[in-house]
Amino acid sequence: MQQSKMNIVIAGVGGQGILSIAGVIAQAALAAGLRVKQSEVHGMAQRGGAVEAHLRISPDPIFSDLVPIGGAGIVCGMEPMEALRHLPHLNPENGWIVTAAEPLVNIPDYPAVETILAEIRRLPRHLILPVNEMAKAAGNVRSGNMVLLGALSTRLPLPETALLDGIARLFHAKGAAVVDVNLKAFAAGRTAACA
């Protein structure tokens, strides 16, 4: 575990499950006795538009609900262009950018994905994973958000068990099989981040 203060920006497209990523981390932080602020986008943008969640955890009181520019230890994306959109939030000294490699193309002028990935690779600390492919291998292509959470988890100041509990609680209502797939997806992301 690292310092227990952490700012994270989670980006994606409405419907990709970024609020679930933020929710699991926030609950785990609360369980660990930390303070939490988690700002999220509801409403119109959730209809397939660009969405983001700002998540802040700390042992001390947290003031702003938003991560300051240059203040994020992690900027992560369920989608590479959306991750890159939040680059100004990344801490230039120590921030990691963690993103799905696969683009979500729902606009006519989506840029060449290779150019986007090349921009991300330029950064000293980046992790690009075929999140959707890994989710499929884990049993459900829609659990990509849990792959991404797994990939982030090694850099969070939180015990893995708290995150696993959070996932189990989040999917509990959908049955044991769904919980299982999501835990598998998380494990795949976590292993890839350690590699």
Partner: protein, 535 residues
């Protein structure tokens, strides 16, 4: 013993209201206020029916229903987005004149930066306009704590109390310590002086004077409010007046949140004049930080232009519009900001990604049919409304020409038809229709205005996440009841395989309409709602 929960600002308000012993929550869904009612509906108290928690037809009915519950001695909370308060304004302003019996708290959620709204109006003006106290919590915890206070305030002063929040608080979660117990609900009781609810001029004049007489007391309460706090600081080059959540952005800039300037945190209105005067006297200059309009700042400048001792949104120190942030405040105070990394070539790698209708959305098929039915009629004939279908304004559809306020599709189509425009078509969703579409339809029927109304019945209030819609499935009967002749109420099913038939039906409705109103109801369930029902 209380417990600590992770709650959205909206949820903290709901939990606070429940713990303050409400008997009713009245609301119409609207971002960023929707989650208040949704939280109340999820609680055991609502399930046990000790708290009435159903969506109302619109904010005005919600407001008046809340007032009715207050009349009967019980506590009620009424929730809406900022523009909803325009709809509720008649009841809201006059509830201040009748006064309340059981506690009545109105929550208006403002949306600076217009994340999901058509304007960024500031609800604090409404509280001032109605001569009632208002509260503006700075954090989720304070939002929770303020609810008990707000209901006490309402009951002791016999007026409704407005709580004003903004999107950032509404939709941010934080750890909130709750009381863990709920105050018992008030018993049913008649107001001892029930006549004051009859606003005949003679009574209204007396009530209004009574309301004005309470103003010094409201000011006093704000001066002493536990939520208006002064923190001294050694650097008196400027004093800072920070309203609501702006104090967080300010404190963010300093180690351990300790601002070197004197700070007056303001969360209860009318603004405390003496406290502000003290801040101004000790520093000479005051910077005003407030979300939304320069509400306090403008008053401090005075009527005749800008004062050299006040800075803020009006003087250009801060942006005139949009949400504030720790960065904008840092710049105003001359503090360094981090530049933030940028892609080497932003233009090559970043594109706007506006919202769009879901794949498979029934509105898509309705718009495709409408566009084909209109053929080469040309642009400018379609008046639309507020909902997911407003996204039909964007490519590839570009199917609509207006979106103003709830219900305006039908009224504007009617006005344009009265002016001679043909065809004049209104596109409106089922929930928006029951919110504010029925009355203009009545106008159009009564006046014989030549319009076609396309009601998109997706069975829900889709844009805000699928809340109950009150007349879905019986819109034909509603229209018939309003006087649309039965042969001019048509039904289509917006599905790709029905496209040709739908185009014909719409052509016939629009161009076969030689006089009066024709209604076409396009019914197919929102696919998001349908999906949620399956799991």
């Amino acid at each position: 013993m209380g417990d600590i929960r992770l709650l959205l600002g909206d949820e903290a308000i709901a939990q606070g209201a429940i713990d303050a012993g409400i008997s009713g929550c009245y609301a119409y869904p609207g971002t960023p206020s929707t989650e208040i009612m949704e939280y109340v509906q999820r609680t055991p108290q609502a399930a046990a029916k000790t708290v009435h928690a159903r969506w109302s037809a619109n904010e005005k009915t919600a407001m008046e229903e809340g007032l009715g519950m207050s009349y009967a001695g019980r506590r009620a909370i009424v929730c809406m987005k900022h523009v909803g308060l325009n709809v509720a304004a008649d009841g809201f302003v006059n509830a201040a004149v009748t006064g309340t019996h059981g506690g009545l708290v109105v929550v208006a959620a403002d949306d600076p930066s217009m994340h999901s709204s058509q304007n960024e109006q500031d609800s604090r003006f409404y509280a001032k306009f109605a001569f009632i106290p208002s509260l503006e919590p700075a954090s989720q915890q304070e939002a929770y704590d303020m609810m008990a206070y707000a209901f006490e305030l309402s009951e002791t002063m016999c007026v409704p109390v407005l709580m004003r929040i903004t999107t950032r608080l509404a939709h941010s979660r934080a750890d909130v310590r709750t009381a863990g117990t709920a105050r018992a609900a008030n018993p049913l009781s008649m107001p001892p002086d029930a006549k004051r609810f009859i606003l005949l001029p003679g009574i209204a004049r007396r009530n209004y004077q009574g309301l004005l007489d309470k103003q010094p007391k409201f000011l006093d309460l704000a001066e002493q409010s536990p939520f208006n706090t002064f923190t001294d600081g050694p650097d008196k080059s400027v004093g800072i007046l920070a309203a609501g959540i702006t104090v967080n952005y300010l404190r963010e800039l300093f180690p351990d949140g300790v601002c070197p300037h004197p700070v007056l945190k303001l969360s209860q209105y009318p603004w405390p004049k003496a406290a502000i005067q003290r801040l101004l006297d000790s520093c000479g200059t005051v910077m005003v930080l407030e979300e939304g309009a320069p509400f306090i700042e403008e008053a401090l400048h005075g009527a005749l232009g800008l004062s050299p001792t006040i800075t803020g949104r009006l003087t250009g120190a801060l942006p005139r519009t949009g949400e504030l942030s720790s960065e904008t405040i840092a710049r105003a105070l001359g503090l360094p900001t981090r530049p933030g990394l940028q892609p080497a070539n932003p233009v090559a790698v970043l594109r706007a990604r506006p919202p769009r209708m879901c794949d498979g959305c029934p509105h898509i098929d309705a718009y495709k049919a409408l566009l084909d039915a209109l053929g080469d009629t040309g642009k400018g004939h379609v008046f639309a409304d507020i909902g997911c279908y407003t996204l039909g304004a964007l490519p590839p559809f570009e199917a609509i020409n207006s979106c103003v306020d709830m219900g305006a599709s039908i009224s504007m189509a009617k006005g344009a038809a009265d002016a001679g425009l043909f065809p004049a078509i209104a596109v409106i969703g089922d929930s928006t229709f029951t919110h504010s579409g029925m009355t203009p339809l009545l106008d159009a029927v009564a006046h014989g205005s030549r319009i076609t109304v396309l009601i998109l019945d997706n069975g829900t209030t889709g844009m805000t996440g699928g809340q109950e819609s009150l007349a879905t499935g019986r819109l034909d009967k509603v229209c018939a009841g309003l006087g649309v002749p039965p042969d001019r109420i048509r039904a289509i099913t917006p599905l790709a395989k029905q496209h040709a038939a739908n185009v014909e039906a719409l052509k016939d409705a629009i161009f076969g309409n030689d006089k009066g109103v024709t209604v076409v109801i396009a019914s197919r369930e929102c696919i998001q709602t349908a999906r949620h029902k399956r799991v």
